[in-house]
Symmetry: C2
Subunit: 606 residues, 2 copies
């Protein structure tokens, strides 16, 4: 009862089904809702590129510019591809659905596994990066980063368990503030570098371009930067949330998102190069940039706080996406059906709990360090990009709607490019953690299949097709008694209310006690016959099971109901003071066919 | 099923009740069985004295001689006292029973609490000291001492869970070997010191007797040495185990025990003084002595191994004493009655498990260090000595049998002396850990009383005195259905076998599903009426509870049986794939009066 009260305080009162309806978003709000995941990655993508390049010395950092340009081109390609998905799947085109529709079940399950992993990592990476934004500004918090990260995940999870009704409002302010802040940072920084009005000298002399940075390292840096693309697909998943005309508005929003993403990402990358920023353990590149451009004042802190907020919003989007995908998978019977249940706040509580739990665990294992989580991150995203775009190609070839050749070409470019990037990421980050994801995806697919087979088998075994109910059952009701007390008398009355032939069964361990019981039976037995079973090994169960088996052997329509008198103490600790015999008997009889066990609780007062 | 197999492998097959009979011990075996606890304490008692004295400098160590003599006198007094208990309680005179018999309930509960704590500490201290004997001989094991201690406790516990049938045989060899070994050590050492034939020079010049050792320190050293007395009471507890004439034989054994104990303890203390032994962290005093006397050869190792064995036997005795006292307390309803149950190997498994668990925990907390456990140890022992002897005084005054005056005087001296020692120990060791025991004893007594009140209250509420069973109950059987499948059909047949008026209840969350169910009902419902309850909040429980309450409100002899169709997967992991709705419903209805919930299991094949 206490627990129930606590649950209500944290999660709020239940909501009626009728309240379940969709909020439709206008373009401005939709951009805020769907952009946070994609845009937030500019907070760490540049830094990840620099962290790889710095391995070849600070001079190698200048490679960040061409890599940044390549990634921008990739963003443009992916955005073009997904604009077509929006048109084709106005009801929402997540990779699982699109792939199942066009490439079939197995590729779809691969996409689903990749996405589930990806959502977990989005939470972990975004929260770690959000906390890094805060600890960059307040270094004394640095050593509490794991704690802060886990606390953030818990808070986001609770907010989602309550059900966030006002999502549009929550998203708009931080997302637009982030866009404006980072844009201002880039513009003011670039101007300041040009006209030299910054608080500090903008940069030292540029190191000369250098030879000798290996291709592998450049590819690894490129792979690291590809995290900038995570979240771009969100718009195409959420088309039904837009105001009409849905597809048209979604396409405009996706295009704007792409443009803003490229601008901010390239701006930060250029400025980082121009200011000769080197990645540090305890301060993010974005924080270093903001400090250099704005000085350590109000504007600097504003950038850090807004960065943290957009990253937490990005984490929050996974709390909508993961349970939704889980719902589809549960509906299709690939994961336990509990993921298909809406809780009393109309949210899919189990998905939220699993996502929050695993993300928190990852944050603890990887010590809340963004850089250690990143190598696991992008593989899953690019697998789902590739499958989703390949599905679109297949679709155009199949449906051959107007301009299908051109559309297929756009998606084919998308599929090929994202596929190559996926292989690049897997190869260059394999030993840094990507292997975990590469092992995990087929494992998850196998689990999906095993679960599916089980549900199919259960459905087959329970199916009423070609099944005829047998003749009525014959039921023998037994009351297991150990003594005579009010609880036992109540249980006998209960048994007699179900069957006039109910019998009491007593397992004898000590003949003296049997004699005393039989004496009392005359007065309290209420006409119920008493059967005494002897037990040389003091076991209660053995003789009872033998007797039950003996009854069952008489007739295959015979079933046996064993009634257990049980008294229920008034306080929880008092349970410790009583034998858990009933539990034991239930456990032992659970696997016996044609036997049903019934507790008859007798309630004590205090 | 696997677990069951493992249990059988570890614990052996069940034993029939008929096999429960007492092994009677002759005097030689009895000395071995009851002496190990008392004698084993000479392995650490001298060392504990020296450890306190050394705080005042090595010169203060010579105070060990007078302290050793005082403790020997104390042993003689306690032995004389307990010889009288043997005569008076031939059926076994443990402190709890003797005190309850003479001083009443509360003092007896104090004695019981002190004893329970004492048994736990006997295990912890003996095992720690036994491991110290081994690590003294094999220093590379020193850093694994906590692990070794816990492993020893686990092994002893398992041996006791199996039931040690051959106890006499196990005890005899190590106990007598220990007596002979330590006696030889003392004699050979003393002779060697006198005639100077030892491998090393026997001692440096004795430091002069010194002034300035405070009284408090001497008392503390005395208190520390009093651990030598632990276990002396064992003989009087176990009189019924002796061959006839029981009391006579027991008295002889106790006298011999006292003589041997004094000899060995004084011998070690004298030799330690004579050889100028100073206590070390990683080698026991007994080990240092043996090394000095015998050199580090076969004889030295023999002493260490035998010391370890007798200490493990001492620990083992608590595994008989603790469950036996628990049984008495459970029988008198002061602790949960589970402690009164004999397991299928005829031992009191719960007592053994609790004792082993708490002792292992203590060893971990106190890092397997004998010296840190000792201050907790002796308080409880002396509380039970005092109460036991005071009870005897009371008894002599009450019964006034022959020579009662003299007997009362002997026990009065025993009670007063042990009482004063108890206060001395409590005062001098209070801040070193004795406070824990002093807080714990009244806490345990309060728990005993609370448990007792609960059992009394339950007995009162369940009592059939002044109780008349009401008129027969009227039972409405409901089957909760969510769908139609073979499991549901089986449950309906089950319900119909109990009541021709059984009804099916369906909670509607979606009218479309209700329509489909009703369609199927005609074919599969077997004439069972279907009641549809609507649920605006998707809750299964709310509408069900309302309906049940509505039925119950009609008549106070009405009860409701809720039948839950449940299918049982063939493998354990498959349970995770199904809703635990049945569990939820049972939990919610458990606290509803006049409602009985019955699962009807339908077994799946794979």
């Amino acid at each position: 009862m206490r627990l129930h009260w606590l649950k209500r305080r944290i999660l709020g009162t239940p909501l009626p089904t009728a309240q379940s309806r969709h909020e439709r978003l206008d373009k401005t709000t939709a951009l805020a809702v769907f952009a946070s995941d994609a845009l937030s990655s500019v907070a760490y993508a540049t830094e990840e590129i620099l962290l790889v390049l710095v391995l070849a010395g600070t001079a190698a950092l200048s490679y960040s510019l061409p890599i940044g340009l390549a990634i921008s081109a990739l963003i443009a390609i992916v955005v073009s591809s997904y604009r077509q998905t929006i048109g084709a799947y106005p009801q929402g085109g997540g990779a699982y659905i699109v792939t199942k529709d066009n490439l079939g079940l197995y590729p779809a399950l691969v996409a689903a596994a990749a996405l589930l992993i990806d959502y977990v990592l989005t939470v972990a990476v975004s929260v770690a990066a959000g906390v890094a934004a805060v600890t960059s500004a307040f270094p004394f918090l640095f050593r509490y980063r794991v704690l802060l990260s886990v606390a953030a995940v818990v808070l986001i999870a609770i907010a989602n368990l309550r059900g966030i009704r006002e999502s549009g409002k929550i998203f708009a302010a931080p997302t637009y503030l982030f866009i404006v802040s980072v844009f201002s940072l880039v513009m003011y920084g670039a101007a300041g570098a040009l006209f030299d009005f910054l608080p500090e000298a903008p940069y030292g002399p540029h190191p000369p371009g250098l030879e000798g940075v290996g291709l592998f390292l450049v590819l690894r840096a490129f792979a690291a930067g590809c995290t900038a693309l995570t979240g771009v697909e969100a718009v195409s998943d959420g088309v039904p949330a837009f105001k009409a005309p849905e597809a048209y508005n979604a396409r405009i929003v996706l295009l704007s998102l792409g443009a803003i993403l490229i601008t901010l990402f390239l701006g930060i990358t250029y400025l980082g190069y121009d200011f000769g920023i080197t990645p540090k353990v305890d301060e993010t590149v974005l924080s270093q940039l903001a400090r250099r451009v704005f000085g350590t004042g109000m504007l600097y802190y504003e950038v850090q706080v807004v960065t943290m907020l957009i990253l937490l919003l990005a984490a929050n989007t996974s709390f909508a996406d993961f349970p939704r995908l889980s719902f589809f998978l549960a509906r299709d019977r690939f994961i336990p059906r509990q993921f298909g249940n809406q809780g009393d706040r109309l949210v899919f509580s189990n998905g939220i709990l699993i996502l929050g739990g695993v993300a928190a665990l990852l944050l603890v294992i990887f010590k809340g360090d963004t850089h250690r989580l990143i190598p696991l991150y992008a593989v899953g995203v690019f697998i789902s990009f590739t499958l989703s775009q390949a599905s679109m190609v297949r679709r155009w070839f199949r449906l051959r709607t107007s301009k299908w050749g051109w559309r297929a070409a756009v998606n084919a470019v998308g599929a090929i490019v994202t596929g190559v990037v996926m292989l690049t990421i897997a190869a260059t980050k394999f030993s840094h953690g990507a292997w975990i994801v590469i092992v995990l995806i087929p494992t998850l697919v196998m689990i999906f299949m095993a679960v599916h087979r089980h549900y199919d088998e259960v459905a087959r075994q329970l199916s009423v097709d070609e099944f005829a109910p047998g003749p009525p059952l014959r039921n023998t009701v037994l009351v297991l008694v150990g003594d005579i007390h009010r609880g036992v008398i109540y249980a006998i009355q209960f048994a007699q209310s179900l069957s006039p032939n109910a019998k009491a069964v007593y397992v004898e361990t000590d003949p003296e006690r049997t004699r005393r019981l039989e004496e009392k039976w005359g007065k309290w037995g209420m006409g119920c016959p008493l059967i005494v079973l002897s037990s040389p090994y003091r076991s209660l169960l053995g003789p009872l099971l033998d007797y039950v088996d003996h009854l069952l052997a008489q007739d295959d329509k015979q079933i046996v109901t064993v009634v257990l008198p049980e008294f229920i103490p008034a306080r929880w600790w008092q349970h410790l003071l009583h034998n858990q015999t009933a539990l034991l008997i239930k456990g032992a009889l659970l696997f016996h066919k044609r036997v049903v066990v019934t507790d008859v609780p007798y309630h004590l007062k205090r």
